[in-house]
């Protein structure tokens, strides 16, 4: 207490305030001398602290990135401004606690830029967003590699701090220049994009502040009627629940270790099997047991519900993955100098977390391709009578036990001639290329080593081809279809089964053995008539179904089992399809379809041909799940060999 009370002051305010003397007005962080002393203090940093810090930082950066991209679209949205401010503020606090000075400094700079913005002293523009996105990128890369006990230097931070300083200086210079023509950014600023509408930018920065940095009442709007909005009192608006509805959806959630979820699903799988073992138990077959049946029915019902619940716990909306694409398209369009807009729909669609983890890379690849090869340059679009801005649509929805993800562009479409030429060079074509259906031509781009770009650019075609997209989606048991119309664009439809661990399977019998075929691969099953069957000179049997000639694989021969039927007309032929290629599997009979819990092959088996895993059937019997893709491929090569022999 200084005792300097001249009676005029209300005792509550200024006496306390003087007592505080702690806050150095020149120091916007509010760091006092006392605090400076405590900054020397380095807490004992445990690995867990660093882990929590990193995980949270990743979430915070993502939050800020999303908000910044939204601000680029609607620069005055208070909610997003508050959000970005809060993220940098929170991150600064966390980094400060661990003594990560570089991070603290950089996030403090970013925070103060947004402090100005939320106080109405400055406004968001494209440049702000670009610089701050770079700041996030750099901090994210650095944060990811932080280790306990190591110093946290942030290479390149000086450049970023310069950029942020420039943003600040520029916005402070503006009030004096209101009557002058628009100016360029100060020398030395290297930003990835330039201000789009200088007039607008000009106006935005100058109006709500006088030369002393004091807030002044907003003058009547000049060009922009919404100008008044900017002068809303941020302190007043900041915390009110109405204004923060979007953020208030904090879920009543707890964090659960992913491993626990995985083992829960394993256990549920066991439960499904055990339930089937009880209800299909041979001991009770054929008996009239009303009360037991009723209880079993109840058991079955609850088991299904638990199964659904366990699955739904692993389901995550695609929103996060899709959101990253917004950033991707933004950066791409700047890089390739095209105007591209990403339209997202169905981002609330939920899929298994395994899908989330693995779908991102293929999507990035498809979108890169669309931006680089699909969408034309603005002049070319105008010449073709299309709107200058190209659209890439990313859409997701559920359809019949699958999730359907569509990547669509309104660009120039695939070029049949170019693809065929390239495929010819690569030796992918038999001689009858002209008869190929469009669909088959498009599928050629999934062949390894295929890329139609004449010059490999830095964006797409960096050695990883579309074949990787296909194999990654294949790993998820999914498939990709392409539709393309010249001049109108290309549509990639990705279909992936919703769940990875439990599938619908058809159990088939061959002799005493039971095999399981995923229902999704089955096209039809039939008992062939003699006139449908032909045999090649090489000994391969073929069945003609509605004009299509399909090779037959006899499962009993493949797995060397004694079958009940050897004659094709006596048993059952199942037509299976993978990657638009089909073949027939010959079995004795269909034993019915059921939910199959997939058990992976143990490592010591190595890779077994034609088998993708095991299933335990209701009776406790182990059944092999057929790997349809590899079977179809081997049938294809059998067919080629036998026709080749035929030709000789």
């Amino acid at each position: 207490m200084t005792g300097d009370n001249n009676g005029k002051h209300t005792p509550d305010n200024d006496s306390i305030a003087e007592n505080l003397t702690l806050i150095n007005e020149d120091n916007p962080a509010g760091v006092t001398e006392n605090e400076a002393a405590s900054q020397e203090y380095r807490p004992v940093v445990t690995p867990e602290m660093v882990n929590i810090f990193i995980n949270e930082a990743m979430e915070l950066f993502e939050e800020a990135e999303t908000a910044l991209l939204e601000l680029e679209k609607s620069p005055e949205d208070r909610e997003y401004i508050e959000q970005v401010f809060r993220v940098f503020h929170s991150f600064k606090g966390n980094a400060g606690f661990l003594g990560y000075r570089d991070y603290e400094k950089l996030s403090h700079k970013a925070e103060s830029i947004f402090e100005d913005i939320r106080k109405g002293r400055s406004l968001v523009n494209e440049e702000t967003v670009s610089v701050l996105l770079s700041v996030i990128d750099v901090m994210r890369d650095g944060t990811r590699n932080l280790k306990p006990g190591e110093t946290a230097d942030l290479p390149g931070k000086d450049i970023l701090i310069d950029l942020l300083d420039n943003l600040e200086i520029f916005s402070q210079l503006l009030p004096e220049m209101t009557e002058q023509p628009p100016v360029d950014t100060p020398a030395g600023v290297t930003v990835t994009c330039t201000v789009k509408e200088e007039e607008d930018f000009f106006y935005q920065n100058g109006q709500c502040r006088d030369n002393h940095g004091e807030e002044t009442p907003c003058p009547p709007p000049l060009e922009k009627p919404e100008g008044k909005e900017r002068c809303k009192d941020p302190e007043h608006d900041a915390g009110s629940p109405e204004n923060n509805k979007k953020q208030s959806t904090i879920q009543r959630a707890i964090r659960v270790d992913v491993e626990k979820l995985d083992s829960l699903l394993d256990l549920v799988g066991e439960l499904v099997i055990a339930e089937a073992m009880v209800s299909h138990n041979p001991d009770i077959q054929g008996l009239q047991l009303d009360r037991l049946d009723k209880s079993l029915l109840q058991l079955t019902k609850i088991t299904r519900e638990i199964q659904d619940m366990a699955m739904s716990m692993r389901m995550i909306p695609l929103a996060g993955t899709f959101q990253k694409m917004t950033r991707l398209v933004r950066d791409l369009s700047l890089k390739v100098n095209k105007r591209i807009k990403l339209v997202i729909s169905g981002e609330e669609t939920e899929v298994d977390k395994t899908i989330i983890e693995q779908i991102s890379d293929p999507l990035v690849h498809l979108i890169r391709n669309a931006a680089d090869h699909g969408i034309e340059a603005p002049e070319e679009r105008m010449a073709a009578g299309k709107p200058e801005t190209g659209h890439i649509t990313l859409e997701a929805r559920h359809s019949a036990g699958e999730v359907l993800i569509i990547v669509k562009d309104d660009g120039r479409g695939l070029n049949r001639q170019k693809i065929l030429k390239k495929a010819g060079k690569l030796g992918l074509l038999q001689d009858e290329a002209k008869d190929l259906k469009d669909e088959e031509v498009w599928n050629l781009i999934f062949e390894p080593g295929f890329s139609t770009a004449d010059n490999v650019s830095s964006i797409s075609g960096r050695g990883v081809g579309m074949d990787v997209v296909k194999s990654q989606i294949g790993k998820l048991r999914g498939r990709v279809d392409i539709r393309s119309t010249p001049g109108q664009g290309t549509i990639f439809s990705i279909r992936i089964p919703l769940t990875m661990a439990i599938i619908e399977g058809m159990v088939v019998r061959v002799g005493k053995a039971g095999y399981t075929i995923p229902i999704i691969s089955i096209k039809e099953s039939l008992q062939p008539r003699p006139e449908q069957i032909t045999v090649t000179p090489g000994g391969l049997e073929l069945i003609t179904i509605r004009g299509e000639i399909l090779p037959v694989i006899r499962l009993h021969e493949l797995y060397k089992i004694k079958p009940t039927y050897k004659n094709l007309t006596e048993g059952i032929v199942i037509v299976v399809e993978s990657d638009a290629k089909k073949c027939c599997l010959f079995v004795d009979e269909l034993a019915g379809h059921q939910q199959i819990v997939i058990k992976a092959l143990s490592g010591y088996f190595g890779k077994v041909r034609g088998i993708s895993g095991f299933a335990i059937l209701g009776e406790g019997e182990v059944s092999m799940i057929l790997d349809i893709t590899s079977l179809v491929n081997s049938a294809e090569s059998l067919l080629e060999n036998s026709t080749a022999k035929h030709a000789v």
Binding site: L20, P43, E82, S90, N94, F97, I250
Partner: protein
């Protein structure tokens, strides 16, 4: 002593909880924003609340006021990096029992708890307790 921690970052809640647990205090609840903080306060009636200021949904100052309105005897210590004068003043006027500026030394928390337990004047401002 039963403590309620209100902070929007997991990291800060984790660190504060560790400090309190190390001192033998019971962390009775953690909230990620002001609104959750107020609701939890009513439920668990803690002896002490640590309150961040910048938080989503409802900020710390509003939460402080809401808690004081509900229970005038509540002891709420603001823990924030918003050390600006306006925030400190506003906190004190609204009935905060203390104000600790982030980043802080764990001893600061210890001193504060000791003082509150001894029933010493509750205002413990950084700067007034230097040395």
């Amino acid at each position: 002593m039963k403590i309620l921690i209100v902070d929007d970052t997991t990291f800060m809640r984790y660190n504060l909880a560790n400090i309190f647990k190390g001192m033998g205090c019971e962390v009775a609840g953690e909230a990620a924003n002001g609104q959750e903080g107020v609701e939890l306060y009513k439920k668990i009636k803690p002896d002490l609340v640590t309150m961040d200021i910048t938080m989503p949904v409802m900020d710390g100052l509003q939460a402080l006021k809401a808690i004081k309105q509900h229970d005038p005897g509540a002891r709420v210590v603001m823990v924030s990096s918003m050390g600006q004068r306006e925030f400190v003043l506003e906190s004190i006027k609204s009935g905060a029992a203390g104000f600790i500026v982030k980043p802080f030394h764990p001893d600061k928390i210890k001193n504060m708890i000791e003082r509150l337990e001894k029933g010493l004047p509750e205002i413990s401002l950084p700067g007034t307790q230097a040395n």
